[in-house]
Point group: C2
Chain length 592, copies 2
């Protein structure tokens, strides 16, 4: 069975030596001293290793079962969920006014990586609840907040997001679910929603569904969509649970992975719902939570890769097979461990350098979200808006790819469910799809975010890269290994942006046909920037005579690998982009 | 449920307009007239569409069940297997002396793509049997041939290959299974073999296991391995079935995919075995079948991608979601079909251009194998030896990647087992692992094949590319779209080879650390060459006033896409290769 150890040291390095969290002056960040965050991460790691990780295979094997309208979660999930609640983990970055601990989102993100790495399907119950919490916190009335938030903060009640219907996922304007206004100000919700994660389960007393639906007579299409709170059990004025609402789980989907999470078809039969935010502004309400939700999925991508990587390293050290070409390294044994072989190292270094880069990128994104929320920093908000589709799309593609590589290290054993490596790949696969399939992320990036506010944020990004290179150049070895490749990659990204500006004017397909490659190109530059920042931090520590030289040397070596072996992808993506839309759009639909 | 239609027209194009099969003068190829192969492929396609494809989901869902030592295959497999036998499909390229039809391996390969595309797990029962047939045909005594071949040709009996043991897969020198010589000239085989595809099942009266084992007292390691025939039921002198042999299935593995095939742990408890070929030359005997076996797995890679692609195209045409950015294309419907969107086309073109290129490459490989076997052409044998790890490694990596892309077209529905797209990805995944994991293919390519016969075959490959470009240049549009990119890619491959020669001398790790990228670089150049050849054939047909202009225009457009959008990968692989082994080997094992 696979194991999981929280990479707390690597996390601390990003928090304190790269982002210098405690010194940023963001309200609430003064608590983020290294001792404190270290203690929190260690504690989360304990829960992850001892409780959540052992349940990961259980969840995959048992799955969720629907019987008589009730969903049974896998053995042990209930007890583990209780431990998660008791430890206060569900309340970490929630508003103290409603029982939260008010910690930065950044810290919540780091803790989230640990829980997701240990058991992604399990952690979704809490993750969806946090989404519902955020939506009600931002758009709810005082009454709604008082009614729902305290219970969502503790996860005594959990939450869901209901967007997709059988005939529409991306194009929610086609939605058919109806919300009929009632005399008492409530609405009757009728329709079917599919792919509802944690739609029904046995972990909580109540489930608060957030449901997108159309109020009859409203505007056509996406502009006529409103957001509703539809509790499984209606809540009495005294806060106790009242009548069972008209919402039921019709089916649990059989999926490729995340079996431990119940993915439900939800049927709304005149269920009582309460408008959340303004009528017909449902999509806008969803969008305010989107950066966090998508960052959370981008995190799943690399967190699964981290978990898979950890196990691949163990196997590569244990499994004896073949001899090093440069001479036996385990001469007393029957063979050398796999890890002596250059191609196994190539694979492990691909994984390691991606995961550590993605972690830094994700933490930086969370840091920008805090900056925008806590310091009302519009530039930070604009920048993280731009980066969010990259974090989501690039990291989940690469995360899956790396989980597959980790599985590959096991040879035939990687294909056998017994060893657990297949689950990492199967679970990671969903992150490329939900919360906006990655093609949609690319479209969002190129079609909306690039030009947002007159292209201000992408210019700011390039400026940031340029300044970093300018400010930190001069050390020949560092320049050559880190800054020169970053500069070249950034130039490729700028060239791609320029191509879109010039050719997209002539025909928007020239931009859209390159959107996916642009997202990946951007992702490489971002991870290149993060590695340059991590490399600099490591160099600074070494120059300062840090006692743990091996740790920092390893960081530098891993960064050098990323720059030498991942970044060359930027030229390929640029070449694909610059080939334009002609070859992409050449065929009639009938000739595919 | 997914569907499958044999792409017979595309296959015929490769057979007759690219490879000009009937005119090659290879013994037996004179029968390969277009009418004949067309009829065979249509007939195979009928069986595939009507019988095998509908059983693909059944196989995945039901899997194989072991009860009291007997394995039950999924519903319908038995009847389908009977139809496969009755149609003579199992005997297609087998020796007429033993009941085969003596057709070229090339035709068998084309038919194989159809069956594998329709139902990969099902087709493995026959595929493994064909491997056992080949081994006995090549290395068996006259008695052994007479005893086993007629039954293997018809698949009344099936075959298996037993190599892997729990502690050794790649490194078979560590093998522990023992073969004790008996007075009657037979051997007693004792040991455990794992991952034995079709090791036990209910489709045939007898199962002929080919088992690698060590005769005590023989040479150490891989040089002391011998190959044995171990029938499930011993065969009496009159050909009837005798005593049950001491070989049993201990367990069926739970796998990520190919559930329809029984992957068995096989226990040999003093089972009676008969030496096949020479003692201690078991690996050599295995190697003689390796090109075919590996080509067969490379075929699985793109055949699964083809099946997944076909369904992605159907979905992209059916599913209405969003509007084309250049204006509504289905103005009377609620939305446009997915296929109007550039990023969906980018994905479909990636798939289509890969699959068609891979088909041509695989058929060319099969053609070279026929040439080497039927015309005793040593150059063809050397060339296909060189190309085999590329066909296997590159095509299964890409095949999986493309199946994942096809799955992605379905959005959330791609993750739900009901739609069948997950199965294509899960089934395709194994092809990257078995028959030598792809890292081993890369090692075989760079460590053995490149330098084989003094590098003669790789030089011949480059010469072939050069000659093709020289002979067919002069048409500006064709040069620009096809020959120039091929030339550039081939130059990258040569530069990589040069790097290995120069730097690999200093340190072999410089070559091995780049082996995986080299395999992919090589794959791109091969598919580039195939597309140039297909492009030329299409151009020739159009210049000759072919009636089906749309078919040939589509070929040219698809080829242009491959050259513009796939081939830029060669520069990335070269850059990774030229970064050498330093960053790959930098870390101590403890620092991963």
């Amino acid at each position: 069975m696979p194991s999981y150890i929280a990479p707390t040291k690597d996390m601390q390095f990003v928090l304190h030596e790269v982002l210098n969290a405690a010194e940023t002056g963001i309200p609430g960040y003064d608590e983020m001293e290294a001792d404190f965050t270290g203690a929190v991460l260690e504690e989360a790691g304990k829960l992850a290793t001892e409780v959540l990780a052992p349940l990961n295979t259980v969840g995959d094997t048992e799955g969720c079962v629907l019987e008589n309208g009730v969903v049974r979660t896998p053995s042990g999930f209930k007890e583990a969920f209780k431990q998660m609640q008791d430890g206060g983990w569900t309340a970490l970055d929630c508003d103290p006014e409603f029982g939260g601990q008010g910690m930065p989102y950044l810290l919540n993100t780091a803790v989230g990586e640990i829980f997701v790495g240990a058991n992604m399907a399990f952690n979704m119950y809490q993750g969806l609840t946090h989404g519902a919490y955020s939506a009600i916190h931002t758009h709810g009335t005082d009454d709604q907040k008082a009614t729902y938030l305290p219970k969502l903060v503790t996860c005594e009640w959990t939450g869901t997001m209901n967007l997709t219907e059988p005939h529409c996922g991306t194009d929610l304007g086609l939605m058919r679910t109806k919300a009929e206004p009632q005399d008492d100000g409530s609405y009757q919700i009728t329709g079917q929603k599919i792919f509802i994660s944690a739609g029904e389960h046995d972990l909580a007393d109540n489930i608060i569904h957030l449901v997108l639906a159309k109020i009859p007579g409203g505007p056509e299409g996406i502009k006529g969509v409103s957001l509703f709170i539809v509790p499984k059990f209606l809540v009495n004025d005294d806060g106790s649970l009242g009548a069972r609402n008209g919402v039921t789980c019709g089916k649990i989907e059989e999926k490729m992975g995340i079996h431990g999470n119940s993915t439900c078809v939800m049927n709304y039969d005149g269920a009582t719902g309460f408008l959340l935010g303004e009528a017909h502004k449902g999509m806008r309400a969803m969008f305010t939570m989107m950066n966090e939700a998508r960052l959370g999925v981008g995190l799943q991508g690399y967190a699964q890769a981290e978990a898979a990587y950890q196990n691949a390293v163990i196997y590569a050290n244990d499994r004896l097979q073949g001899r090093a070409v440069t001479g036996a390294e385990n001469p007393d044994g029957p063979a050398d461990p796999l890890i002596v072989h250059p191609d196994i190292r190539r694979s492990l270094m691909d994984q390691k350098s991606f995961v550590e880069g993605a972690r830094a990128f994700t933490f930086w994104g969370a840091h920008l979200i805090d900056k925008s929320h806590r310091s009302d920093d519009k530039d930070a908000e604009g920048l993280v808006s731009l980066l969010t589709p990259v974090i989501k799309g690039f990291q989940t593609d690469k995360g899956f790819e790396m989980a597959v590589q980790a599985q590959q290290v096991y040879g035939g054993h990687g294909y056998i469910e017994e060893w657990g490596m297949s689950q990492f790949a199967r679970d990671a696969r969903i992150a490329m799809i939900y919360e906006g399939a990655n093609g949609i992320q690319a479209l969002d990036l190129v079609g909306r975010k690039l030009a947002q506010d007159g292209g201000k944020h992408v210019m700011a990004f390039f400026e940031l890269v340029k300044t970093f290179i300018k400010d930190n150049g001069g050390d020949e070895a560092f320049d050559k290994a880190f800054l020169d490749p970053l500069k070249a990659a950034s130039k490729d990204l700028q060239a791609a942006g320029m191509y879109f500006m010039q050719q997209g004017m002539k025909n928007p397909n020239n931009a859209l046909a390159g959107s996916y490659d642009f997202m990946h190109l951007f992702g490489h530059v971002c991870l290149g920037l993060m590695w340059a920042r991590m490399g600099l931090a490591a160099k600074t520590a070494l120059d300062g005579g840090a006692s743990d030289a091996e740790f920092y040397e390893t960081k530098l070596a891993t960064g050098r690998y990323y720059m030498a072996r991942h970044l060359p992808a930027t030229k390929m993506h640029l070449a694909r982009i610059e080939s334009g839309a002609d070859t992409v759009m050449a065929l009639d639909a009938a000739n595919f």
